[in-house]
């Protein structure tokens, strides 16, 4: 018996029991569709997170106080676990900004942060306030839709000026244009609006469009007075290029170790690069994808057991047929091939339909996300298609082997006598 014949016979036999074949295939369809959809959603999430981080700028470095590897906590640096640590100061920032001490660092921007109440007229909202220096706009690639960013004059004069994120402007003014010169109150103190930022859209850390910026000196003097006069929360640094990021980390670390006089191996600060963020987040989304795919894989497994079940029923039902085929000269191999072909055909068919369904589900999820204002495009990868196709074929083979070998090992005499 050639393979083509076996295929033809398997088709005939599956066609003879359409309802049953259909239900069996359905199990695999659901499994494969789930795997494809889950992997697509997971990959899409990873891609969108990676994209939004890359948009921040790949040369960016973050320096926090405290020896802690990890992303920053909400609204501030990660809490420290070292009681002897020193805070980061403006002095540290200036030392790092020194082009001779740290040639790989192009620019430094110290930041103090806090959440505060902003009011205009009757409208009140809480927004993250950052006290920043003029260089911050360059380091973070901030663009203004109107007005100007904080400059040295504001900084030196400790002027009460504010640059609003478009979301915050919308909340308190009901619009985000034509608000220059208005005076808002932050924690009751009046601030003149000098600029509004361009909307960046939602990122994976949540939207940055709510952020409100005031001069660093003003913040230290009036609003964020905690800690020492020169203490800062985060230090942003920009490496001269993407290639020098690692060097910049070393330079910054060395300067801070000297200045803080920390013993070797117990730094009281943390330098994170974009790569670190990317890696952490990719690990998280990777785990998420595997988790989702695993759950979907279970349903594929259940589908496979369905195939085994049906094939066992089919073998029992066709015991006489098997006996007859053996009497006519079918070898074990022939019977094995016949039943394996049937089970693989079932699972492959399910696999193909499942891919289509999975793609459809992923597409729908993308559309729903788009309708809700998030740019999120599920990615149906070739790898996912190959994976689930080969996986479903393997499942057909694996779960087909037992019933098929049971059929192949039937004694012809017994099988022929079976009623």
């Amino acid at each position: 018996m050639t393979f083509a014949q076996a295929l033809l016979e398997a088709l005939e036999s599956l066609n003879g029991n359409k309802m049953r074949s259909g239900l069996t295939v359905l199990g695999i369809v659901i499994g494969v569709a789930a795997v494809i959809a889950m992997l697509a959603v997971g990959n899409g999430a990873q891609e969108s997170i990676t994209g939004s981080i890359s948009s921040i700028g790949t040369n960016l470095l973050f320096v926090f106080r405290g020896n802690r590897r990890g992303p920053p906590g909400p609204g501030g640096p990660p809490r420290s676990n070292n009681s002897n640590e020193r805070p980061l100061t403006l002095g540290d920032a200036n030392a790092i900004a020194d082009a001779f001490a740290a040639p790989s660092v192009a620019m430094v921007a110290p930041v103090v942060q806090g959440n505060m109440l902003i009011t205009f007229g009757g409208e009140t909202t809480t927004a993250p306030i950052s006290g920043v220096t003029p260089k911050y706009a360059t380091v973070r690639n901030l663009a203004l839709s109107e007005g100007e960013f904080i400059n040295d004059e504001h900084q030196l004069g400790r002027m009460s000026v504010v640059v609003l994120g478009p979301d915050t402007a919308d909340t308190i003014f009901g619009r985000h244009d034509g608000v220059l010169g208005e005076t808002v109150r932050i924690e009751g103190q009046p601030f003149r609006v000098i600029g509004v930022l361009v909307a960046k859209g939602g990122g994976s850390f949540g939207s940055e469009d709510k952020n409100v910026y005031i001069p660093f000196a003003t913040a230290k003097a009036r609003l964020l007075k905690r800690g020492g006069r020169d203490d800062i929360d985060i230090l942003l640094a920009q490496a001269t290029s993407a290639e020098t990021v690692t060097k910049a980390v070393d330079e910054i670390s060395n300067i801070l170790r000297q200045r803080h006089r920390t013993p070797l191996g117990s730094d009281d600060f943390t330098v994170l690069t974009q790569q670190d963020f990317l890696q952490t987040l990719q690990t998280i989304t990777g785990v998420l994808t595997i988790f989702l795919g695993g759950i979907a894989g279970i349903s594929l497994l259940v589908g496979g057991i369905g195939i085994m079940n049906i094939m066992l029923v089919s073998v029992t039902e066709r015991t006489r047929e098997i006996g007859l085929r053996k009497a006519l000269g079918a070898r074990k191999k022939d019977i094995l091939l016949q039943f394996l072909t049937e089970s693989s055909l079932l699972s492959l068919l399910g696999g193909f339909i499942g891919i289509l369904f999975g793609w459809l589900i992923a597409f729908t999820v993308g559309r729903v996300a788009a309708a809700m204002g998030t740019t999120f495009i599920p990615i149906v990868g070739v790898d996912a298609i190959i994976l689930s196709t080969s996986f479903s074929a393997a499942i057909g083979l694996f779960f087909g082997i037992y019933p098929a070998s049971r059929a192949a090992n039937l004694e012809p005499v017994e099988a022929l006598r079976y009623e």
Binding site: K326, A327, G329, P412, V413
Partner: protein, 244 residues
């Protein structure tokens, strides 16, 4: 003498729990090529076991069995399958046709397992013509009468030009008129093609139509039927002489 079947001291025992059942207890006989033999015996006499052994569906526990020059007793499963395919044609009481396949498809089955690709269809058609079903080739079993179904089964049995045809109660599921037709078909095949025919039956009317009757009782050979056959032939010869 051209022997197609040579059975020597065949023993078959089954283990059923703690008991061993002796279905065959040392049976020996021979069948010549072209002979038409029936095997008779009451139920429990070892008839079915004998048919399974002669048809290479099962191996004897001990003893020797040579089918058309091949010692079958010690072959493995796949070798037995090959021998069945080439040398044995089966006709069953309940036809055993595959309902999904057409008459032609059913007849083609043994050729498929023989690995024959070219001329398969033509040979299957020829076999169906030989049993008079040239107009029913595309029909499926449920579209055929019982007699027609058994004809398809006979065509399937002869399509590989086997050394022997094993027919197990071939008329058991048919009314007497159709049964007679099938018997005539088998007798004609034997006469015209010289195919060795072995019919397992408990119906004396069927058995009498064959040249020789092998009788089994309690797993032993009661009579190999060769004496009766010789007497019959003598009687016929005498008859012929008297007529002269």
């Amino acid at each position: 003498m051209d022997l197609v079947i040579e059975a020597r001291n065949l023993v078959k025992t089954y283990k059923m729990g703690e008991f061993t059942v002796e279905a065959l207890r040392g049976v020996s006989f021979t069948i010549e090529r072209g002979e038409m033999v029936s095997i008779m015996g009451p139920s429990g006499s070892g008839k079915s076991t004998m048919m399974n052994t002669l048809g290479c569906l099962d191996r004897p526990t001990s003893g020797e069995y040579i089918l058309d020059g091949e010692a079958v007793a010690n072959m493995d499963d796949d070798q037995l399958a090959s021998v069945r395919n080439r040398k044995v044609g089966f006709v069953f009481q309940s036809f055993n046709l595959l309902s999904r396949l057409t008459a032609l498809g059913n007849v083609e089955l043994p050729l498929r397992y023989a690995g024959l690709e070219e001329g398969r269809r033509a040979r299957a058609q020829a076999a169906l013509e030989a049993v008079g079903l040239q107009n029913r080739m595309g029909h499926r079993p449920y579209e055929l009468s019982g007699g027609q179904q058994q004809r398809v089964a006979v065509a399937r049995a002869i399509v590989n030009n086997p050394s022997i045809i094993m027919a197990d109660e071939p008329t058991g599921n048919l009314d007497s008129k159709v049964g007679k037709e099938i018997m005539n078909l088998l007798l004609n095949l034997n006469k015209e093609r010289g195919t060795t025919l072995i019919i397992i039956t408990h119906d004396p009317n069927i058995a009498e139509q064959t040249q020789r009757i092998i009788r089994l009782r309690d797993g032993e050979l009661e009579s190999s039927g060769e004496k009766e056959k010789a007497e019959k032939q003598e009687a016929e010869a005498e008859k012929l002489e008297k007529q002269k």
